[in-house]
């Protein structure tokens, strides 16, 4: 019969190769719906290796194919081409009830004709576990999600947050190798949502099960994930840790989708091995991006507002000079100052009219040192500048 992974997976071995490590390996998976002229490609050549014990998040706007990918992993749909490997074994053709993978559905899909306890025990019952074993496991799950008191209630008689916990317990009860969660928190209000985020992380730590989590909420993705795959129009644009995705977005879409960001059009300057960029009407900025550039190549730079520091222009006699490697300072004209409570956002324009934003924390109260219309200087660390590919997916 089906092999069950132990509750707690061994710590990842960093010596292992990436594919060997992968709990689930998605290889060039395509999915199209319909045929002929009506065919719609929901996933185009998606590849990803999800590691054992990882909290892996699929992040992307509505309709980008997150649910489609999850359904392929669960087995509700078959890929048009490509393979899905679970622990090295191809499962793409396996029926969902033969896959050691469980799902927390977006609408929970709890069985309305069964009690909370019956819902949680359903998977174990279908696996043919003994009554005693089912009872023990259901009790353990009820404790895990703190639902002991409501175990004989019908699923229609409990709140949304409680339903969410039951759905989670039901999916965890058979101890799957992989847990798929399709926007499980989207139906909850903000406060409950924050609570459940912490709860989910706790459950993942306690069980050691690999989680594939779907969301279109970037903040949720950043706070919860070990790694994030950003998707758009049926493709994965970038996979990385939250920091990599946030600090070093590789595509304009990724940079734009997550957090606030400034884009600047520039041309590459390669001089003595020092990578840099020339911003039209301004000057030279140093870059740290390890991408190899061709001299004169046009490119898009992405800079987070909180990495932009506004400085008095008087102190910058030397700015916008032909070369300014030491400070990476340029000029701008302040057009707006917006107070946001915890921080202040300065809007300023570059020579070509590009509007930029700089965000500073109000940790000493709100005391703007600049007023609208001022010529200002701004400074950015080379490590804070990402070169992003403009091309659409």
């Amino acid at each position: 019969m089906r092999e069950r992974s132990p509750e707690r997976n061994p710590q990842e071995n960093s010596q292992c190769t990436r594919t060997h490590d992968a709990a689930i390996d998605i290889r060039r998976v395509r999915k199209s719906f319909g045929t002929g002229a009506n065919a719609f490609v929901a996933l185009k050549e998606v590849s990803a290796a999800i590691r054992r014990g990882e909290f892996f998040t699929l992040l992307g706007p509505s309709g980008c194919g997150k649910t489609t990918l999850l359904r392929l992993i669960a087995g509700f749909d078959q890929p048009t081409s490509g393979d899905i490997l679970l622990d090295g074994e191809d499962i793409s053709q396996l029926a969902p009830f033969h896959r050691p993978v469980n799902t927390v559905f977006q609408n929970y899909a709890l069985f309305p004709h069964m009690s909370v306890a019956q819902n949680i025990g359903f998977g174990l019952k279908m696996q043919g576990k003994s009554k005693a074993e089912i009872d023990d496991r259901v009790d353990a799950m009820l404790t895990l999600v703190q639902m002991q008191a409501l175990k004989s209630r019908r699923t229609g008689e409990i709140s949304g947050g409680q339903q969410q916990r039951v759905a989670l317990a039901r999916a965890l009860a058979p101890a799957p190798k992989l847990l798929l969660l399709d926007e499980p928190l989207s139906a909850l209000d903000l406060k409950l949502r924050k609570e459940m985020q912490i709860e989910l992380k706790r459950l993942q730590n306690e069980t050691g099960i690999t989680f594939v989590f779907v969301t279109h909420d970037q903040e949720e993705a950043l706070t919860m994930s070990d790694r994030i795959a950003v998707m758009d129009h049926g493709s994965i644009l970038q996979i990385g840790t939250p920091r990599e995705i946030y600090d070093h977005p590789k595509r304009r879409f990724v940079a734009d989708f997550i957090g606030d960001i400034n884009f600047i059009e520039a041309t590459a300057v390669t001089d003595g091995g020092q990578a840099g960029a020339r911003i039209p009407g301004h000057g030279f900025v140093r870059l740290e991006d390890d991408r190899t550039l061709a001299d004169g190549e046009t490119m898009t730079l992405a800079i987070r507002p909180e990495r932009v520091e506004i400085v008095p222009s008087k102190a910058l006699d030397h700015i916008d000079g032909p070369r300014n490697e030491a400070t990476n300072e340029l000029t701008g004209k302040l057009v707006n100052v917006v107070y946001h409570g915890t921080d202040t956002i300065y809007h300023f324009t570059l020579a070509d009219g590009t509007v930029m934003r700089a965000r500073t924390q109000n940790n000493r109260g709100f005391a703007p040192r600049f007023s609208v219309g001022d010529a200002i200087g701004w400074r950015v660390d080379p490590s804070a500048i990402s070169i992003v590919e403009d091309a659409a997916a």
């Binding site: 087995g75 069964m114 306890a117 039901r170 999916a171």
Partner: protein, 298 residues
Amino acid sequence: MSGRSQRATSRVLLIGPAFVVIVVLMVVPLALMAWISIQERDYAGGVVWGSLTPDAYVRFLFERNLDDTVSLSFDYLRIIARSFWLSAMTTAISLAIGFPTAFFMATRPRRWRGVLVFMVTLPFWTNLLVRNYSWILILRDHGTINGLLEWLGVISQPLPLLNNQFAVAVGLTYSFLPFMVLPIYTSLEKLDLSLVEAAFDLYAGRWRALRHVVLPLSLPGIVAGSALVFMPCLGSYVTPELLGGGKTLMIGNLIGMQFGSARNWPFGAALGMLLLAILLIGLAIYALRKPSGEEASA
């Protein structure tokens, strides 16, 4: 004050028509039937009004011999038993055919479903007699089926398909199948298909997903459909008359006979009352059963 009386008036106006219809079309005929069933029989047809006797009910189980002694007879009971048996068979066959049909319909794309529902109700647009006669053409010795089988060389003698219980069961199933399909379809259409996926996800194969999720959730439709098939079957008249060849009497035929050739109105009315009583007892048992059936299945 005037608002309240206005409301009372509008209530009377709203309920009134339905009340009148029920009284005139149900209560009065039923009362008349109950009254007739305890009258003395007039051998020329009709009843001798005002002479009360339980004869009609006695006759159901006891036979009055020529010498006026009374002995037990199960002839009528046998007809009733056969009616129940045929109705139960018809209900079971309708369920076996109707459930998959309804499931198929409910899982088609929405734009097709209306067409499918219309197709299921299509036979109703033809007269019941015509439909039963066409079954005679299909089932008789040199009819469609026997003719085809003989032509294919499968059989040399025609199969006895007509004028027996088989023919009646076929005819009844054909007539009442839509009453099974439509309620089940309605409950299946409301079923959230992600529940079936959830069952698959939790290691239930197709049969067990059907048994543990689809069937319990479509139970109201199944119960309604079964009742809608079973009850009219029990009282059916035309189908056993035509396809049973007069040999496979059901209660309906027996009752019809009392008002016709046998000229025993009280007995006919008494049989009608008995049938009604049996059905009411069945309904009462169903209504008073434990409210939810799933509790025990865990």
